[in-house]
Subunit: 689 residues, 2 copies
């Protein structure tokens, strides 16, 4: 875990990416550098096509258009929730998670209850507008004033429900861009393999390479007319795949990185945030692991939850391990000291920016004090029922306010997505809801203490188990029609509701809101204001030719197919389909599905299965297309290796690898395992003569 130590120096000293480092914005892509290094210079046309062929899944994944008829490719784990929901909703209670799904005919394609996809259609620089709004604003009002200014910009942009507009904070406040998305809410499932091959190796192999996963699914966008959407910008499949050393691009939505944080913020991550989150997720993991033993149905309906927890946990442990490395951490300390020295050496810079680090530290000190209560009250009770109740209660209050005064998730430009979530037909599992709500109430009591007024009010003398059971039993919010009626009825209907879960959410809301306000004023405000100053100082000292921290917005990374050395062992960049059969033990999670065992003789076992590249990615990039310079698909990103987890804080080209399903394995398995001819033909149309 001491392999990242060289990184930070690169980042902060020269502050240009010398390795294949960087999650670049589409309006700041270093085409000339790529040309210099790889001999290929992306044109503006090429960039535009790639941008439009890339889509984001609102829930937190990336995806790509892979045919002119709206066909979308993403990971199995990005569609897992939809696949699970469709199983629950299917008339014959078919288990599509276990058995896979294939719409042999177009009419068999099934609508995902609450999936939304977004396509980035426009980027506008709004830095001046946003920064002007907060000029001379004191730290404790900074976040509030900025939020209001951003809400106004977003509302002007989102001219109809068809669009989503987000002001994105780049470089921690050095730049603000307005991202305008086309939104698609009719997304249908076309194909999914069985979970045992999609997630072959399970949690033990997660974030590992070599790897043997068919972590893919296909969906399709439909228009308002109920027909498959026409999508002129898409990625065709590469017939040849990628070679060792070949230039590869990845276009997707990395969720977040922390490469520009101050040392005070990194200490908080290392000492408070990650240990706290590891404790919480580990406990939940243990609980869900044992919950799965309650029965087959309980296992089925809790699997995507457990996967989510285990996946996050492994990622967070990796991030924590990076910061726990003394030399790596020391490199941040040194880089920050050097940077501050440069600022302090110039009287003008010193006056403008010299105090910014202490300003951030003051916000962090408050965060340390408030975090536990914030997580308890604002992270709060778990479960879809409580989530719906809280959204409705807050929607009632927020919808009466002017747009600029609202909590961000209730501003005008966010309402279409809220409505989609609330009124979608996601099935709800009362038994799981009870278990999660009960456990999370115990955590709230633990974090605040049994004598905290909010805890006394919430529990009202009941035990967490008893309360959870009675709330889940009494609420009607599991019925999507009830939720839809309340949302449509607006504040009047919601405020009149006596639904048990809504009354419960109401009980918590004042305390939670008060804390959220405190957090905005005392933590967010000072940090945002001072981070903006540091960002400006960084531009002045190191220049602007750099990339911002990830923000779950569209980024383009370049790199190449490349193996690596894992503690002295050379790891080749490709695995083969034959290797998966070698790893098969017959025991979960190393059990290939029957379809694969039956198809073995038909398969070309030499077909490359997964591959590793130097592309700089992170969580949120799941489902991203990996493509060559002709913008043809050579892979489907689904993971990074274990060293990629430290990528949160710094990129180390020696060992950090993106991991993808090879395009050739996708075609080979669709053809020879699944006989999905219609899909293969759509992905690889016969060349025009």
């Amino acid at each position: 875990m001491h392999k990242w130590q060289a990184v930070v120096v690169v980042l902060s000293a020269a502050f240009t990416a010398q390795a294949d480092e960087g999650m670049w914005t589409f309006n700041g892509f270093p085409s000339a550098d790529v040309k210099a290094k790889y001999g290929f210079q992306p044109t503006q046309d090429w960039l535009d096509r790639v941008r439009l062929a890339s889509v984001r899944i609102a829930g937190g994944c990336s995806a790509s258009l892979v045919s002119k008829n709206g066909l979308v490719m993403t990971n199995h784990h990005c569609a897992h929730h939809c696949i699970e929901q469709l199983s629950s909703l299917s008339a014959k209670k078919q288990d599509f998670i276990k058995n896979g799904f294939w719409a042999a005919a177009p009419a068999d394609e099934l609508k995902c209850p609450d999936m939304e996809m977004n396509q980035l259609v426009q980027i506008t620089d709004v830095t001046a507008k946003v920064q002007d709004a907060t000029k001379n604003t004191p730290a404790d009002k900074f976040a509030e004033v900025q939020r209001s200014a951003i809400a106004a910009i977003e509302k002007d942009c989102a001219t109809s429900d068809e669009f989503r507009c987000d002001v994105v904070t780049l470089y921690r406040g050095g730049r603000y861009d307005l991202y305008k998305y086309q939104r698609f809410q009719d997304v249908r499932l076309v194909f999914a393999p069985e979970l045992p091959i999609a997630f072959f190796g399970g949690d033990p192999d997660n974030f590992m390479f070599p790897r043997y996963d068919l972590d893919m699914s296909f969906l399709r966008l439909y228009g308002k007319d109920g027909k498959a959407l026409e999508t002129p910008a898409f990625f065709p499949f590469s017939a040849a795949g990628a070679k060792d050393g070949e230039l590869t691009f990845v276009s997707g939505n990395p969720g977040g990185t922390s490469r520009l944080l101050t040392v005070a913020q990194l200490m908080m991550d290392r000492d408070v945030r990650w240990p706290g989150t590891i404790a919480r997720y580990s406990e939940l993991r243990g609980l869900l692991t044992e919950y799965q033993l309650r029965g087959a149905e309980q296992k089925r309906h809790s699997t995507s939850n457990l996967f989510g927890v285990e996946n996050s946990l492994k990622a967070i442990k990796g991030r924590h391990a990076a910061l726990a490395d003394p030399a790596f951490f020391e490199s941040f300390v040194k880089a920050e000291a050097d940077f501050r020295k440069k600022v302090d050496a110039n009287p003008k810079l010193k006056k403008a920016y010299g105090g910014a680090w202490d300003g951030v530290a003051a916000g962090v000190a408050k965060a340390r004090l408030l975090r536990k209560a914030y997580v308890a009250l604002e992270g709060g009770p778990l479960g879809d029922l409580f989530g719906a109740a809280r959204s409705l209660v807050r929607y009632a209050a927020e919808s009466k306010k002017p747009n600029g005064d609202r909590l961000r998730e209730f501003t005008e430009s966010r309402l279409p997505q809220l409505k989609h979530q609330l009124t979608g037909g996601s099935p709800i599992y009362p038994e799981l809801e009870t278990a999660l709500l009960s456990w999370s109430l115990v955590k709230i009591r633990e974090d605040l203490g049994p004598d905290h007024p909010a805890v006394k009010k919430l529990l009202g003398g009941k035990s967490p188990e008893e309360l959870a059971k009675s709330l889940v039993g009494a609420t009607k919010l599991a019925d999507k029609k009830v939720r839809a009626d309340l949302f449509t009825g607006g504040a009047a209907a919601i405020e009149a509701s006596k639904d048990a879960m809504i009354e419960f959410a109401r009980l918590l809301d004042d305390d939670a809101r008060a804390l959220r306000k405190k957090w905005e004023d005392e933590v967010d405000g000072p940090i945002k204001k001072n981070a903006e100053l540091i960002a400006k100082a960084r531009f002045e000292v190191f220049g602007t030719k750099t990339y911002p921290d990830a923000t779950f917005t569209l980024r383009l990374s370049y790199g190449k197919v490349l193996g690596f050395s894992d503690d002295g062992t050379a790891v080749a960049p490709f695995t083969t389909i034959g290797g998966a059969f070698g790893r098969h033990t017959g025991q979960d999670p190393f059990a290939l599905p029957k379809s694969w065992l039956d198809a073995k003789a038909k398969l070309n076992l030499e077909t490359p299965f997964n591959l590793a590249t130097t592309n700089d990615i992170i969580g949120g990039n799941s489902g991203s297309p990996m493509f060559n310079q002709k913008a043809e698909i050579v892979g489907l990103v689904f993971d990074g290796n274990i060293y990629s987890l430290g990528g949160e804080y710094g990129f180390d080209e020696k060992v950090n690898r993106a991991v993808a399903v090879d395009s050739r394995a996708i075609v080979e398995s669709l053809k020879n395992v699944y006989g999905a001819t219609r899909l293969v033909d759509e992905l690889t149309p016969a060349p025009a003569k």
Copy 2:
């Protein structure tokens, strides 16, 4: 959590305890300081009597003799395991955990299956012997050579099974004392209240004050003749109890503190050890929480396990939080820098000790690399069945070696305890064994990776669940006669055994032993050798009038009854029995038992229930007697407040408090709730006329 910051300076600069700080050895007690501060000077007779009236529970608690007939007082949670075992073994499957236990007549006192108590009868300084043995020994052989020397000293001392002898490393190697204990293996349960009042407030109130717990139990030592043991040294009960501000002593066995560690070791605790342990225990906590829902019997037999995990977890989170405080941590960094400066300023000291800190750091660096594998292979699979199998397999191998070459727990002086553990009649719960073994196998695979040769060998292509189920189903080790026969049969019998669990333990043993050897050579050796040098330097620079880190050996602490300020709120030092009724909600863990609700009218509600004092204690002190200058019981230590958890690293008299059951509540409840007249009469005999 930023209240400890002043502490370290005291510890390392002047390095004498100015506050009521210190877990003092009986041969190094600062009687004159107590006289100066409190006007009472303990005499050697007084100290001897207190020492002999204090007993240690081998499993990890403290206790005291409270009558001349071998009556022992300790916490309920220290006897929980025995109470649970006696429930399982009772003919009518009575639940003594839920309903309490009371031997109305002497003949009703029930023998605990595997409890052992030790009484410290002699302390001998063996520093020269131990230090001479390792003179000129290189770091990588240091631990091994020392272990061998210690085994010889211990063997010479333990002249029969009646004695246990331990060489105790004090001041991290500054001094070595030989502790000789009388051992008692016939310990019988006399009285235990119901768990809901023993642990009123449960995990939410654990480590909190104000508090309302009757965390007590009474046991009795029996001699080899099967009669109650005569114990002339004991603590009589105080009729009046303690007053606010009164001088109090606590005699007990604090398990361990880390106040003398180097910064490199503290960083390892903060960044690696505690986060890793928090993850592991949190997951186990979640698992057991959900396991309890399998049914009433499962709940009963897993409760003491869950309590142990939750208790450790809360303690460890507190320790981690102390180190995560930037100012507190910085105070260690500064103190160490000052100390090293003083050493380096003197050429003689510099030559002898100057390199010692880097020597410790080198051992720590190795520990960082090896820890995960060490925990996996040596911490290994969980469960009593595996534990017994591993002990037997190792006993077979170790018993053939000369005493000095053996693993420490198999040296001659340790064998009586091993035999007692293996041949005792502890009931074993196959369902729980399967759950724990299965989970821990998943952890081993996770920590080492599925491709590690040891993992492949262990699992042999099976899933952890499947393997655990088959091992627990096949082994005969749940039968105490089988274990006893194997132990008595020795190496020949054990090596001939084809028991499934024994074969499984064999499979793991080479890898685990190899790693343990590596750890001893590369981690323990360098750390022990260099810590000894630092200890010597400390004596030379700061003098010897100080106390060593805790080592689960008998220590004496002085202090006084005192409230504290909890984030601005004044907390009084006493609670009352009436307060418990005020806190009663009827819902677990805030539900008083029926016996208490029925007795309310008879109880004096003003009786002090729990009290807080400045005595410096830590985990392992549970069950310690708290007494006045006449060596009369005024309380029964069962906990510390939340600030006491930072006591691992430093003592802050402003907020660190020991928490005890008041002697008056003990008598009041025995009389008026339980009608345990026989016991009350024994504790408070009519004064001789």
